[in-house]
Symmetry: C2
Subunit: 240 residues, 2 copies
């Protein structure tokens, strides 16, 4: 189970590239498998579309159980809203988990990749929260947003908006505005590492005016986050 990093081949780790090189079969969401073209010549590929996560994991598990060396790929980190947990659950469900030689290869997750493009907003304690309510009740997500906002945690929003999910980001922004000044720095990083990457620095008051898509990650600063010459920085408390 291999995390590819957030988009550019430059953000892959050596461990990731070795795992792909060693694989006989590469399984994953089509754009991620296609992004590996430089490493997959001569290998069997199983690329599939959105919402095929369970099928992908089952294929990977069954082939591994049959003796094949399989790389199941995720963008970013394989264990952060990725395939690793689901694949372990599927393997367990098939009664195969104890029989497989599994390695999980961590990757650069979107939170830290977005942070690096914006500056250093994650220098102190932070939360990562997905606004997708396909798999988690919105009431649970809302409670987590409230907790993060109240406890002054810098917060990274994964899956902030999609064509079908528009209201969640507005509700999240409203929650943070009840706990933090409208001037709190915020950032939107879209299509990280891809050719059409866009990074926008704004504030909490104007967050909803920004273009936010399903390929975006949103970072909301805490009360010590400042903008310094165009960089979003959360002070960690050092005296200069």
């Amino acid at each position: 189970m291999v995390g590819l990093g957030p988009g550019s081949p430059l953000d892959r780790t050596r461990r990731c590239e070795q795992a792909i090189a060693a694989a006989e079969l590469v399984v994953g969401y089509r754009p991620y498998v296609e992004s590996l073209a430089d490493l997959t010549a001569g290998k069997e590929l199983a690329a599939s579309g959105m919402r095929q996560e369970v099928q992908r994991c089952r294929l990977a598990v069954l082939r591994a159980a049959a003796g094949q060396t399989v790389a199941l790929v995720s963008s970013g980190d394989a264990g952060v809203y990725g395939m690793a947990g689901l694949a372990l659950e599927v393997a367990r469900g098939e009664g195969l988990l104890g029989r497989l030689a599994i390695e999980i290869v961590p990757g650069v997750t979107a939170a830290t990749a977005a942070a690096a493009r914006l500056g250093a907003p994650l220098m102190t304690d932070f939360a990562a929260i997905s606004l997708s309510d396909l798999l988690v009740e919105w009431s649970v997500i809302r409670r987590r947003l409230e907790a993060a906002a109240e406890a002054d945690l810098v917060t990274v929003l994964y899956n902030p908006r999609s064509v079908k999910r528009q209201s969640q980001l507005a509700e999240a922004a409203a929650i943070f505005l009840r706990h933090r000044p409208a001037s709190t720095p915020a950032g939107v990083a879209t299509a990280l590492g891809a050719g059409d990457e866009r990074v926008v620095l704004c504030d909490l008051a104007s967050l909803l005016e920004q273009e936010v898509t399903m390929r975006s990650v949103v970072v909301i600063g805490n009360t010590t986050t400042r903008v310094l010459d165009g960089w979003m920085v959360t002070a960690r408390g050092y005296r200069l």
Copy 2:
């Protein structure tokens, strides 16, 4: 400002290795600079000890302002309890921030590296909280722990314990025990990627009996985290 990943050269990204290769001067905490020996032949090195963070950043900033290509290195991700934010603050303080060409190179952070060794505990929303109260008031940290525990966030504790700081981990465990069952899975990953790496899976009730040092990261599951054949897995909600 370059994140090296959590210990092993295998967890460096290509972007990291290119940045080190391009640098004339490499600045960092001594063990991290020494871990780069395979990439730093012929380069000027400025390796210093603990608590020299501000001096390291100042040196890097002043040399960069003088026209040198400088790599300021952090383990893990440069922006997660790393050097990136402090270096931006120092550059701003010196009046140099707008004059420097800065790139921040993200890396695999300890949270996701530890998670990968334990299984997939970060598959749903999580918080990263440092228990070090050198730079942040303990009352602030405690409030964040309470919020994370109450909102059922999986929680990664950075800097959980040191020779001088022993009580914080006990207080953190007590907070989580008020909100989660004693059987909640927890894990300790120590010296990730190093020769003496140790990974222990336990539960919240026995967390304090484990060996936890300043090189450890602790992961506390949420109410949906289970142990499946020795792997710590937080369900994301898929129906199998």
